[in-house]
């Protein structure tokens, strides 16, 4: 319960593992110098450690609630958020023209990781706002930008994403919320949305909803959907929050975790909205927001893993059972493999962020493809690691881990949402083996080339580490080629284990880089990863090759427990 933002670890990865330094060589990110980055990490780290972490437990115990339809946030959240917003952190990557700092997404990811490590439930507020800022920057009219972006960037207002409906989860095209053109430049939006994170807030003076809805001439499916900006309070002529819009929070969900984050059922009842982007092209605009959010969620997994491992390590240092249990071989195995997993997952996320930044800074299609390829891996793997590490952290606590007072179970409950939202990890994996291999494997091949070049270069100095990584990347290359040739169902059945294998190889690659660049602990941690975690890629690839036939052959009755014969 004494989370300390991992400034040093993040800084090392940015400098030595993912070539963050190249960003300062671009015109767009010329200001992202080492000194600036270190200053930002240190300052944001203080906010995470001193402001966010202290309110984390209280938010679990005293969840956000509705009082006569008005949201009351958890104790201390308002002040903690203010310390974050006042630092300008909401707008770290936002357009300087509207008050943002214009710094790299990868740096924003680093800051977000620390803030989420402090308090995941509260960090969601600004994460959603950042996604909305990006969507408006790309798709909104200049008038909307001028009105909304400065207030979102300052954290004065917050943003939400209204996508899911009771009958339409991952199948967004099935949505029924409708919009009508009022002929005065505004639209009337009517429908119900569920799972709306921070659908209301008592420390943001306005809450701006991005809502997917269908215009009367919108066709069926995802192609007929448009995107609307629907504020809680309609801005007046001066841009201040004015009259209440026709929308309300119907109820809050009672969830497994992130109790401090209000998950709202929203009702739009002829609410006034403004079109964002083109008619019927709302999905494309929404995807801008979702892509940003996917890397953000990936880092939430890493963040909670870090916080949980810190607590488990502290407990294992203090807890004596015939000596401190941190000296027990099996406890040490749990802690060390968790540390190695976090290290790898963080590096994958940061590499993804740097690729997205380089794409933005250079316009390079290769960088864009690399970022797009790494995004689903970062999301699924980062959140899986989040769950695995939080689970191990509970186990290290023994019986105390099961007692809510200890606080470690909260991490397990909180992080469990991350493999689900922003596209389940299964959907991430299908995106990877579908869209992201639809270039014939070019993006995958470029990454594997990089891995193999790096391992070859390391083979002279540390063959015992480099050789297994080289071998694994060879195996992965073959599996990738096979997958590209496979039919859709076999590919989808292979998706999750294939993504897992790819992540393990990438993790080993980054650990190898760390072993070359860092001291003894980096080398030892790399060995732990490469000898204990990397080898699991083998069984991942075996499962990826197993295909869909046996899954289809098993009867539905058997799945339910009634075996035929």
């Amino acid at each position: 319960m004494t989370y300390r933002a991992p400034v040093q670890q993040i800084s090392f990865i940015l400098r030595n593992i993912v070539d963050f330094g190249q960003l300062a060589g671009t015109e767009l990110f010329a200001e992202a110098t080492e000194d600036t980055v270190d200053a930002i990490l240190n300052e944001a780290g203080k906010v995470a450690t001193d402001s966010y972490a202290p309110v984390n437990r209280g938010g679990d115990l005293q969840p956000a609630r509705l009082e006569n339809g008005t949201l009351r946030s958890s104790p201390g959240y308002a002040d903690a958020f203010r310390s974050f917003a006042d630092g300008g952190w909401v707008g770290l990557s936002a357009d300087p023209e509207y008050g943002g700092m214009g710094l790299p997404l990868s740096l924003n990811g680093a800051v977000n990781e620390m803030i989420a490590g402090g308090c995941l439930a509260l960090q969601l507020n600004s994460l959603l706002t950042q996604g909305q800022i990006e969507a408006l920057e790309h798709h909104a009219s200049d008038d909307l930008k001028a009105l909304y972006l400065p207030r979102l960037t300052s954290g004065e207002w917050s943003g939400t994403m209204n996508l899911t409906e009771p009958g339409a989860g991952s199948d967004v095209g099935a949505l029924t919320t409708r919009a009508e053109d009022k002929g005065d430049g505004t639209f009337s939006v009517t429908g119900q949305k569920i799972f709306i994170t921070w659908g209301d807030s008592d420390f943001n003076s306005n809450v701006c909803h991005l809502v997917l809805a269908r215009l009367p001439d919108g066709g069926p499916g995802t192609r007929g959907i448009s995107l609307f900006l629907v504020p809680k309070l309609i801005p007046d002529a001066e841009g201040n929050p004015g009259v209440a819009n026709s929308l309300r929070v119907v109820s809050l969900e009672h969830k497994l975790g992130i109790h401090g984050s209000p998950t709202c059922v929203m009702s739009f009842e002829g609410a006034t909205g403004w079109l964002v982007g083109e008619r019927h092209k709302g999905m494309a605009a929404m995807f801008t927001m979702m892509n940003n959010a996917r890397l953000g969620v990936a880092l939430q997994g890493v963040a909670v893993a870090e916080a949980a491992l810190q607590q488990a390590t502290a407990y294992a240092t203090e807890r004596n059972q015939m000596g401190p249990i941190i000296r027990h071989a099996d406890v040490r195995r749990m802690l060390a493999t968790a540390r190695a997993e976090i290290y790898a997952a963080r590096a994958i996320c940061m590499a993804c962020g740097v690729a997205l930044d380089m794409a933005k800074a250079t316009g390079s299609a290769e960088w864009a493809a690399r970022g797009a390829f790494l995004t689903p891996i970062a999301k699924a793997h980062g959140t899986d690691v989040g769950c695995r590490v939080a689970d191990a952290a509970v186990q290290v606590h023994g019986g105390m881990g099961y007692i809510e007072e200890t606080g470690i179970a909260q991490y397990l409950r909180d992080v469990r949402i991350t493999p689900i939202y922003e596209g389940t990890n299964g959907i991430q994996a299908m995106d990877l083996v579908g869209r992201k291999l639809s270039d014939g494997g070019a993006a995958a091949a470029a990454i594997l080339d990089e891995v193999m070049d790096a391992t070859k270069a390391a083979q002279a100095g540390m063959p015992e580490l480099a050789n297994p990584v080289w071998q694994a990347s060879e195996g992965l290359r073959e599996a990738t080629a096979e997958l590209i040739e496979a039919g859709a169902d076999n590919r989808n059945a292979a998706a999750v284990p294939f993504l897992s294998a790819f992540a393990r190889v990438l993790g080993a690659h980054f650990h190898l880089r760390a072993a070359l660049a860092g001291g003894e602990d980096h080398k030892t941690l790399a060995r732990i990863y490469i000898t204990r975690i990397l080898p699991r890629y083998l069984s991942d690839l075996v499962e990826a090759r197993a295909g869909v036939a046996d899954l289809d052959k098993l009867s539905d009755d058997a799945l339910a427990g009634n075996m035929n014969g």
Copy 2:
């Protein structure tokens, strides 16, 4: 939320996979005929489905609570328990001389699995009582047996196990509760105990505590500990609950799950107790209870996995996202691998139970060694599968899985205690590679011989399934031999992955038997297990061979996130 006891599945495993039938050939279990067993499974299954399952959700929402020091159990628990006790199920395996049915432990395990699948929190009440019955049968005086056993066996009274103290978890020898001989055949017991499951009950007319405490002449460590029976109400001359003893429930823990099961802090304040077994030999007596409980906990893991998978399968059948999601390859992969895992874990548990039964019936040292060897595997693997499957079941539900109202998250929370209590899974694994291999590997070799003989016999008919199992058991045999030669720290570092590998090979072995004995679904499920799950033994064994050196070399600072260099 519509759990149906898996009578058919359990019956198939008992008949065809674990040779339950041989028990009826022994004098002790001559009554355990196929007809009797099927009748018992059917009747107990009804209690699980019709009485226990309906109270499961309410217990989560309205936990047990203390009202002026008096325990109030969750709604409906009293009636559900009565339907179980009235069927005589508490005493299924208890001594007929004291009112028990004298039936096999493995059958009791099958009944317990179904009851736990219905409501884990309530099932704990009778599970602990059954453990106490066994401990008293083995170690109590005839007077104590005559007084207590009939009332425990009928479920009128309940039993608890008082082992853990605030400063002594897995290190039982550090306990400080003390006992003094009052010279009248009774003892005075004073101390505090924590984590006491069902430390009080409002539907058992007496609660009997088995308490570990140290007599004045008891030496330090575990050798100086004695065991006492300390009833909540001291029986009067007729054996009815009489005056209140000097003990009380101080508080209840607020836990991640099993909210309906009161986890008590108990205070014994000069409470009157009776010695069970010999002075200073309390640990041995307590271990009788713990061994019984370990298989019981293993089956709790299987039970919750079954319940969670049933709910996930029902959800996937109904939920449409471009067709029912049960037809989506990745969802089907999750459901099918979960089904295969449950099948294997259940077979391992039942095989363990049959071995313990055969040991009891025949006095054979080989059967006893087999049962002892399988117990930690069953416990750790069964509960790991419980957690994995409950986790997958949440994931299948997507966003709905995170909403408590759906009910699936309760399974995840409930089952998370099972890898912790009755000896953490790490401790189970160390027991396996330590005590259970201290025979030079004889018990392990006997089991591996059986696996290899069975695979050889199957090679002609289904080589594609038999060959990988044969190969894996070869690899496991080598790894076992190496482990026996290893030092204690290397062995302990290897313990968890070694246990996992052994479980996977055993699971594949039992699936192979099922494929030979059963119809198409059994064969398909065996293929799914052998191609998708068995291969993970390889990376398990790689990790088992990695040794402790790198774990020790990594600095404690690095574990905490502060890398040197």
